[in-house]
């Protein structure tokens, strides 16, 4: 092969290699891009405010509407706990405040750090599900065999679109003890 082609090959290979490396970066760029697309509601995802306290505001109660709120409790793989809610569902009027008690127990003889992560279905309702008090706002520390009752106080913002008649709120407890020790 002559000199010319060798030079052309070299240049092309370099450029293509740069594209490949850039695409590796693009894979990582999809991570923040994903958050942006969620923010724009192009992709449905629980808003970050779903795990943030929202100050208690007085809404006008919408007696006309009743929304069924379902509660689910799940343990992440091999989290040694007992976790449940005092009720599986509750009918609420938008604008009306309610408190639901959840309970969790450390089944081990060692202290435990655990974190509950909420998830909504349909995900877009998370914006209207305002929590003033929740055990999911921060990590929970459990003494050996400790059992806790944890209240969650919430209101449905009356701006909730009418097509949502049932909202499922699911909490998953993750055992973060190992990560906490490392920190």
């Amino acid at each position: 092969m002559n000199e010319d082609v060798a030079v052309k090959n070299k240049r092309l290979v370099r450029n293509l290699a740069i594209v490949a490396i850039a695409m590796f970066g693009f894979g990582y760029a999809l991570v923040p891009l994903y958050d942006v697309l969620c923010e724009w509601k192009w992709i449905e995802r629980d808003r970050p405010d779903a795990i943030k306290a929202i100050p208690e505001t007085a809404y006008e109660i919408d007696k006309e509407r009743e929304v069924n709120v379902e509660f689910m409790t799940t343990l992440n793989e091999s989290t040694p706990m007992i976790f449940g809610a005092e009720m599986t569902q509750l009918k609420v009027h938008p604008g009306e405040y309610h408190t639901v008690n959840f309970y969790a127990e450390n089944k081990t003889a060692a202290p435990m750090v655990a974190r509950a992560i909420p998830s909504f279905s349909p995900a877009l309702t998370s914006t209207y599900f305002e929590k003033v008090e929740c055990f999911c706002f921060s990590e929970q520390t459990f003494a050996p065999h400790e059992r806790k009752v944890m209240p969650m106080r919430f209101v449905l913002n009356p701006a909730l679109p009418h097509e949502y008649k049932t909202i499922t709120l699911s909490y998953t407890f993750f055992d973060n003890t190992q990560t906490a020790i490392k920190k």
Partner: protein, 541 residues
């Protein structure tokens, strides 16, 4: 014609270290930088992996022969479905097409070798290393990955000791195919004979050029996704870990950004082979060459913007569901153009039905069937029923087995006489064809019914109402598996001398009008086109 291709005018500084034929001894195969040797290595390796992956499929079908647990435990069953897919995709289909590209692209464009012969050798051996690493996970504590070839978290993070090895093997396979793709793209863009303009290139070369770009764009994204899995598991990042603020659904988006174009990596060269073979046996030029080129490019472009049709059920806003639904349906248009063109090429042609043509015709029919079920699944509300059922298993096996695999077989029959200088046994070839075509339908057609009736994919046991179709499907599977041994026999037999019949340079009647490779002697000499050919056959306008 072959006078033009004076391949024996050795000019030592044209190709420095390998000018006088292959090295002696087995070391030749380790150090070779000759595109034909490397093509052979890729093809034989792919064939071996086809049987490894096929054995896993036989285990799957044996377990599913009857309801209840018969032979393997569920964990191993799930490892089998996962490993079967990974081995077939990354060990068999992709390397086989890279092997074909190695053999044929330089010969089709009148180049003496690939642009980067040394890198070529390296990408082959990295592939071997990657596949061996992947296979080694079968013997590790906790077993091979069992969460599906898509490696979704959090499930895949429960893999035992094998997880980091599986991920490194994906890295190796990725690097190997990126290097292979760069090499092919560079060869096509820089090494063509002077009179071969882009729009004179054979379709197989065009499809590989586009596939090469696809690979360079997507393999790094997949490598990134699995790297995130790795750091999530071992270095406390939280890309996909909800406890740390991540989202497992993000992985699905990244994976399918790679995954959907990946399925086209396996089908575009398939299209290229079909467009090469059909005109020869229809004794007509390819119908609509330029529309074939544009359709290929359109399919490749569209493949980047439809990925979430794999995720209709994860919960997307209605606008997203609709967008991905319509965008996916669009793909059917350029695909339809291709099917139309192949049919039009055969229309009123003086067709003969040698084995390569038989496989090609079956491809056109059965691939279209797979396309139709794809179209059904692109309807978002309907996909809620089909998703993760045997229906989708039937869909992608129709697009991969009687399409990609059949055209690889066809390519084997078509070019083997050129490669070896020997004719394969046509009788056994046709027997192989009929057994494969009948059994592949017995194997996969009932899976449509199973899926519609609600049988989920990736399960080792099932409710008894699914028994009958599963048994039929398994029987088809065993016949299909056994028939492939005929192909193995034919490959070995042809290499050893075949029918003993002396093959001509053009092998197939008037083939020299369709491609440069048929202007070369049979078997092809070790070095070809040391000086570029001046006359380019052109099987289109």
């Amino acid at each position: 014609m072959s006078a033009v291709t004076a391949e024996h005018d050795h000019d030592d500084h044209h190709h420095d270290d390998h000018s006088h034929g292959p090295e002696k001894g087995w070391l030749r195969w380790v150090v070779t930088t000759n595109h034909k040797d490397i093509g052979t290595l890729y093809l034989l390796f792919a064939l071996a992996m086809f049987f490894v992956g096929g054995t896993m499929a036989m285990i799957i079908r044996a377990e599913l022969f009857e309801p209840g647990m018969q032979f393997v435990d569920p964990q191993f069953f799930n490892s089998m479905t996962t490993m079967h897919a990974l081995v077939m995709v990354f060990g068999a289909v992709m390397p086989a097409f890279v092997g074909l590209a190695n053999w044929m692209v330089p010969m089709m464009i009148g180049a003496p070798d690939m642009a980067l012969p040394r890198m070529n050798n390296m990408s082959f051996w990295l592939l071997v290393a990657g596949v061996l690493l992947l296979a080694s996970t079968l013997f590790m504590e906790g077993g091979a990955p069992a969460g599906g070839w898509t490696l979704y978290p959090p499930l895949v993070l429960q893999t035992g000791k094998a997880l980091p090895f599986a991920i490194f093997s994906v890295h190796l396979l990725g690097v190997s195919s990126i290097m292979g793709a760069i090499n092919i793209v560079a060869t096509i863009l820089n090494m063509r004979a002077p009179s071969m303009s882009l729009m004179k290139m054979p379709m197989f070369v065009w499809t590989w050029l586009i596939t090469g770009f696809l690979l360079i764009a997507i393999m790094p994204v997949f490598a990134g996704a699995v790297t995130m899995l790795l750091t999530d598991k071992f270095f406390h990042t939280s890309f996909f870990d909800a406890a740390g603020g991540g989202d497992p659904v993000l992985y699905q988006h990244i994976f399918w950004f790679f995954g959907h174009p990946e399925v086209y990596v396996m089908i575009l060269p398939t299209f290229g082979v079909a467009s090469t073979i059909i005109p020869v046996f229809a004794r007509k030029p390819l119908f609509g060459y330029s529309s074939m080129v544009y359709a290929t490019a359109a399919i490749a472009f569209l493949s980047f913007i439809v990925w979430a049709h794999h995720m209709f059920t994860v919960g997307m806003p209605i606008s997203g569901e609709l967008y991905f639904m319509y965008a996916t349906m669009l793909i059917a248009i350029p695909t339809g153009v291709k099917v139309f063109n192949w049919t039009a090429t055969m229309w009123k042609g003086a067709m003969t039905f040698e084995t390569p043509m038989l496989f090609s015709i079956a491809f056109v029919v059965l691939f279209t069937l797979g396309g139709f079920t794809g179209l059904m699944m692109s309807i978002a509300p309907a996909d809620f029923q089909y998703h993760d059922s045997y229906f989708i298993v039937a869909h992608f096996h129709y697009t991969l087995v009687p399409a990609s695999i059949f055209m690889l077989m066809a390519a084997g029959y078509y070019w083997m006489p050129k490669w070896t200088g020997h004719m394969y046994n046509e009788k056994i070839g046709q027997l192989h064809f009929w057994l494969s075509t009948i059994s592949v339908n017995i194997l996969f057609f009932p899976q449509h019914f199973l899926g519609l009736a609600g049988m989920p994919r990736r399960i080792p046991d099932y409710a008894i109402q699914f028994s009958d179709w599963n048994m039929i499907s398994s029987i088809g599977g065993f016949i299909f598996g056994a028939s492939q041994l005929l192909f193995l026999y034919i490959v070995v037999d042809t290499i050893k001398g075949g029918t003993g019949e002396k093959v001509t340079d053009e092998v197939w009647e008037d083939a020299h009008k369709h491609g440069l490779e048929w202007t070369l002697p049979s078997p092809v000499p070790y070095h070809t086109f040391s000086t570029p050919p001046t006359v380019i056959p052109c099987d289109h306008d």
